[in-house]
Amino acid sequence: MKTYLRYLFFLQFDCIKWLLGVCLVPIMFLGLTADAAKIELRSQKTQRNEIVVQQGDIISLEVFIDVGQVPSSAAEIYLSFEPDKLRVKDPVIPFDQGDFHNGNVALNKSINNHEVGFAIVSNALPYPKGTGVIAQIRFVAVAEGTAEVKFNVKPEDWDRGKYTFFTQFNKGQAEPKSFKDVVGAKIQVKKTLLQIDKFGLQRFVYDNPGDNINLDDFAIVSGSEGKPILNWAIDAEDKFGRPVEIDKNGANQLIIRPVLPKTREDEIKVALRLSLKVGDSLAVDSTIIYVVNQDVPIIKAFPELRFRIGAEGIILLDNYVQDEDNKNAELRWEVEQLPVELKVAGVSLDKVDRSKGIVDNPPRLAFRTGNPINSEQHFDINLKVTDPDGNYDTATMRIVVEPLPFVRIDLVMPSELTLLRNEEHKLELARYTDIEPKAAIDEIVWDVLPSEHIDVLVKNLVVVLRPQQDWVGSAEKIVIRAIFEGKKIDESSINVTVFDLPEEQTRTFPIMLIRNPIVKNEFKVIAVLSDVSEMTAAFVIPEVPDVLPQTVSLKKIASSREVWFCRYSLSKPPIKGQKLIVSIVGKDTRNQNIPPSTNVFEF
């Protein structure tokens, strides 16, 4: 078959060549062209002769002919192009056979770097007529500019044996004919667009933390001549500008996992440079992507944990963490180094393995302290939560230990108090209460146990003692209690004596009180009475709880038979209006009690 075809082709071809060799000039000059025969080079896609492509694009062209209603048994075409702008995609077998001629391809090759040739001979009847595609050819747009692909139809092309023609049957004989209309292709080659899909690339990194990045998937290359070989240059650094080694495999996959940050604060900055060599030019694009890890656990802001001394403060850590890809139970909490101040302040931390700092599961922290403090104490604890992938987050939790409203209270009321009949008396509780901190006194509730004859009222930290009308007596016990949160925390009692001021008839002998001219809190009491062997003075300052009643023995002044005196002093000079009651008892020379004498002095 093959031999036959070759014979037939060469028979025809040789005949044609022989005939044409003889009749070349007549054919060319006598106009032996087939009427209406047309050959055209056009885009397979658009079927237009004018084609716009981009650098690197593959241009598929078809050789379209119209031989009219006369059958054609063979065709031979030669195409010329500019090799600096176009390149045959397959230089070995440039053409694909079309559907017009059903026969043998006699020629299909690159003649040189700027010409290709194709010939086909039908080997069976009926020979085709009308229109059809003889062959397809693919070019690659190499360089920017306008390129033309032309049919060889010049007379010298015949001489070179590279002439485009077809056979036409006339009277049953195939005659070589030139095409009347010959239309080549005009190709405009634009510069290649090379681009990185920056947004898509960054989104992929966000959405697929740790996954390898197939870089070529994010390269937009117009005019991709099949699968272009893209060159990626990579440079990475951490957020401090320190270089980070990042690998890329042979398939242009960026290996992210080893450099994936472990915390949300960290990020890796990756500079990518994409280049593609197209013909003699180099297309380049570059971008920067940030590799972050969205799958890290994130500690939400801790609240300030406040608890009172002696009480327990608990915080459930699960409430303060968020992790997209792990359950809370899979997270591990650690307490980093405990602050020394916390230990010093006696704050105990439960639910924590102190040696390793790991918090028990379910994670919660319990704080307790029993040490007294005078003011608020603040402690900062650093917590770390880690997921099974080793990703972690850290945060600082502030603990505030509040002092109790009081730490120490000491209520010491005057044990003895002397009041005058029908006169109320006030005691300021703040004066008799030693409390730390001072402000805590406002949180104390005061309770009193009144006596049978003395009414007691506490208002605004003042105790008001009110003897019942005209009652006079001694040693009635008043109890004052300090209560906090319903519990008694201290109490103190006062023995109250109420007496009447002595009247004039009680002064059975003179009593004088002589004040020291310099030392104003020092006095001498003078009693004038004859035939006395001993005398004792009793001193009472009513309504002044700081001065307790006391007794002092008098002595007789030398060389005097009737003047007795004693010294009486106060810790401070008395205030104006303060009263001093002096009663003197004694025995006469016959060892009989003398009638006592009492006097009231007002300063």
Partner: protein
């Protein structure tokens, strides 16, 4: 005339040397009279005593008699004739029933106090206060005559009170500012 004022150069040199010698001698003599260090010390002591006496007034007001006693004793050791110190110590001795010592320092205060004396630690303490201290002291040791003498000095009346009346008068005088 011109010739009369004309002196030779030797005469001028001799005059200059004599003048210089006189100036040097005057400087040396005047320096010998001055004792700057001593003056400075005296000034410091004076300042300290004034502060101490003023402080005593506050101490007595607050009832801190022992501290006042120590301060005034120091003052008195430096200046035995200090009236303020003697008056204060007299009052303190009287308060402590040390009547002999009270009389001693009160009399010394009286001897050194001017007629219009007013203490620098208490404006109500004056020369009549010294009389009252003495009157009280004499009374407590039973010397009613001398106590009467002092009362007469205070009230400017020629009285001779019985012990009981004298006691009442002393009580009255002690209650008022003299």
């Amino acid at each position: 005339m011109c010739l009369n004022f004309k002196m030779n150069s030797n005469h001028i040199k001799v005059m200059c040397l004599r003048f210089l010698a006189v100036v040097v001698c005057m400087c040396l003599l005047s320096c010998g009279d001055r004792d700057f260090d001593n003056t400075l010390t005296v000034t410091e002591e004076f300042v300290d005593q004034t502060d101490s006496i003023k402080k005593v007034g506050l101490l007595i007001e607050e009832g801190d008699v022992d501290e006042a006693f120590d301060l005034m004793s120091n003052v008195l050791s430096e200046d035995p004739s200090n009236v303020d110190a003697n008056v204060t110590l007299a009052g303190i001795y009287l308060a402590r029933d040390q009547f002999t010592k009270a009389l001693d320092v009160a009399n010394r205060a009286f001897a050194n106090a001017s007629q219009d004396y007013v203490s620098s630690f208490n404006p109500h303490v004056n020369k009549k206060t010294i009389h009252l201290i003495l009157a009280q002291t004499y009374y407590y040791i039973g010397d009613f005559n001398r106590s009467n003498d002092q009362v007469r000095q205070i009230i400017n009346k020629n009285v001779n009170l019985t012990p009981e009346a004298l006691g009442m008068e002393l009580e009255r005088l002690a209650r008022k500012d003299l």
